[in-house]
């Protein structure tokens, strides 16, 4: 019975047809989401590093995917120990990875909005200092078309007028010496899946202190929504000036300076 079930799953996912090489390492843990792409993505992202599913890592998103082109996600790994890398990915997106973040001197928190091309697992993976990966996530129902629909700015034709506009703000967070940084870009973030529009996206972003120290840096893929919005928690105090330095796939540079406010954030609206 059990055997039968397993082979049904394998047939269902097409994995049975693939040659299975002998594992050079301990196998990845069984995917609680039973995604057909788990093994493949695990291999690409985690390689030979140990992996486990861990509920202390919080992959957060709304109950409904109201907009396939812009689905809010937040990966919160505060409290799991020293984190060196954080990856947000959606198994069944044609561009699975959205963000690959290294919080050098920042709390392990990153939020953004991603495109969803169909119903897919949406996951967050964080790598601890010892190399171990902790993974969390869930299935998200999406009607589809997030990656293959032209961005609104392309439809309206006004993207070039606003390209490079950045908005943002930063607030000091409490005693722990971290801040909360929000930054938004005007950028079409073309996936390359819409006829006659080649891939064009912001691909690198770094947050630096006034002295030029990198507090956090990330690679960004075209599965991040048009007009990207990113929330991070770099270590900085009230009055510090943060620099956000980004580059897109055409080599265009983006630079912003954001002073950390004197007042702490989040007085009025506290998440439940």
């Amino acid at each position: 019975m059990w055997r039968q079930k397993v082979s049904l799953i394998l047939i269902g996912t097409g994995l049975l047809a693939m040659p299975v090489p002998l594992p050079a390492r301990a196998p990845y843990p069984a995917d609680p989401l039973q995604s057909p792409m788990w093994q493949a993505h695990a291999k690409t992202i985690f390689g030979d590093d140990p992996v486990r599913f861990d509920p202390r890592v919080k992959m957060l998103y709304p109950e409904v995917a109201e907009n396939q082109r812009s689905f809010p996600v937040a990966l919160d790994a505060r409290g799991v120990g020293q984190v060196k890398r954080m990856v947000i990915f959606a198994d069944l997106n044609p561009i699975p990875i959205a963000i690959d973040y290294r919080p050098e001197a920042a709390e392990p928190y990153v939020a953004t909005r991603i495109k969803l091309d169909q119903r897919t697992p949406v996951r967050g993976a964080v790598q601890l200092a010892d190399g171990q990966w902790l993974v969390a996530g869930g299935w998200v129902d999406a009607a589809g078309g997030g990656c293959s629909a032209p961005p609104v700015s392309r439809v309206k034709g006004d993207w070039a007028t606003h390209l490079g506009e950045m908005r943002g703000e930063a607030w000091p967070m409490s005693e722990d010496g971290s801040s909360r940084l929000r930054v938004t870009f005007r950028h079409p973030m073309d996936t390359g899946f819409v006829a006659n529009i080649p891939t064009y996206n912001i691909e690198e972003l770094a947050v630096k202190s006034a002295a030029g120290t990198v507090l956090g840096e990330m690679e960004i893929w075209a599965s991040v929504s048009e007009d990207p919005a990113i929330t991070l928690m770099p270590h900085a105090k009230a009055g510090d000036v943060l620099t956000v330095d980004a580059r897109d796939t055409n080599g265009r540079a983006y630079l912003a300076r954001i002073a950390v406010a004197r007042q702490s954030a989040m007085p009025s609206a506290t998440p439940q």
Binding site: G164, E165, T231
Partner: protein
């Protein structure tokens, strides 16, 4: 209520959905009298789901000397047909007018069951359905599947450009408002003073904002407050006999929503956090509150960020 033989058989067979048995599911259409010659069919106070066939909007039947008048027509051809049969049986008169209050598919796709020549809407609503109808239709088919079978996008054939319409002595006032969408039709039945608010009014059910302009919505609520009336029929949620409660609740929700989301942007919350903020106890009786808050975050947050976060890009180095 109208239970088809097939649905009755399905009921006997247990909780199996009719679709699973290869049968056609039928809508339950249950008009309740709210005033002399006016019935309301209370939609499911829930999201559009396969379980309710998308029948979430309130529909109104008015018995006039000239014939039966409908306000909104439900989500699908199947609903529109069933509605027509129920309404004509109720009044004993043919449907002579169908008003479409605004562009949203839960209110208007049922007009596929009627002659477009008797279907009336504000000019902007007709233009909006022409623009967005395909997208709405695709989304409805995706969510509802078989419920939508045969439902075509139909444009209302009559543009409302007058302030009232007289049906053999029963006169209704037609108010061209906006805010829930670019064009929202509200209707006042002069005989009974019943106000039919369309989706300008939500009652014990959280308002939805996919096409909202909150400032205009408030102006429209002011206009409805100033219009002398008795009971009010909201677009979603139960009939409001007081006539003031639905207006007040809708106003309070959109006021709270706007100030809460403004506060969220100003406090540095991202969209996930904004969708998780506490909902005040005064809205605890509202159906679908968390659901609509998170949808509203999706609709409104990018605009608020563009308005409230300062420009920080450094001019070309």
């Amino acid at each position: 209520m109208r239970v088809s033989r097939r649905a009755a058989v399905a009921g006997i067979l247990g909780a199996l959905p009719a679709a699973a048995l290869g049968m056609t599911e039928e809508y339950r259409i249950d008009p309740a009298v709210v005033a002399d010659g006016i019935w309301m069919i209370h939609g499911d106070d829930a999201p559009i789901l396969p379980a309710n066939g998308g029948a979430i909007a309130n529909i109104v039947i008015i018995d006039t000397p000239a014939g039966t008048v409908l306000v909104d027509s439900g989500p699908s051809l199947r609903y529109g047909r069933a509605l027509k049969a129920v309404a004509e049986k109720l009044t004993g008169k043919p449907v002579i007018r169908v008003y479409v209050t605004h562009l949203h598919p839960d209110h208007g796709m049922g007009i596929a069951a009627f002659d477009p020549a008797i279907v009336a809407a504000l000019p902007q609503t007709i233009a909006d359905i022409a623009r967005d109808g395909r997208g709405f239709s695709d989304a409805m088919y995706r969510i509802l599947g078989d419920w939508m079978r045969g439902t075509e996008i139909v444009l209302p054939g009559r543009r409302i450009d007058q302030a009232s319409e007289d049906f053999g002595g029963r006169k209704v006032q037609l108010m061209a408002l906006s805010g829930h969408s670019a064009a929202d039709l509200a209707i006042l039945d002069e005989k009974t003073g019943t106000l039919i608010g369309g989706d300008l009014l939500f009652h014990d059910r959280a308002p939805s904002t996919p096409t909202a302009d909150l400032a205009r919505w408030r102006e429209s609520l002011d206009a409805l407050s100033k219009t002398p009336h008795k009971g009010a029929i909201p677009g979603h949620g139960p009939f409001d006999p007081s006539g003031t409660q639905a207006i007040m609740q809708t106003r309070r929700w959109i006021h709270w929503l706007e100030s809460a989301l403004t506060g969220a942007v100003q406090s540095g919350l991202d969209m996930v956090e904004a969708g998780a903020i506490a909902i005040p106890p005064e809205f605890s009786g509202m159906a679908a509150a968390r659901y609509e808050l998170q949808r509203s975050v999706s609709h409104l947050y990018p605009g608020l960020e563009a308005k409230l976060l300062p420009r920080v890009d450094v001019p070309d180095q």
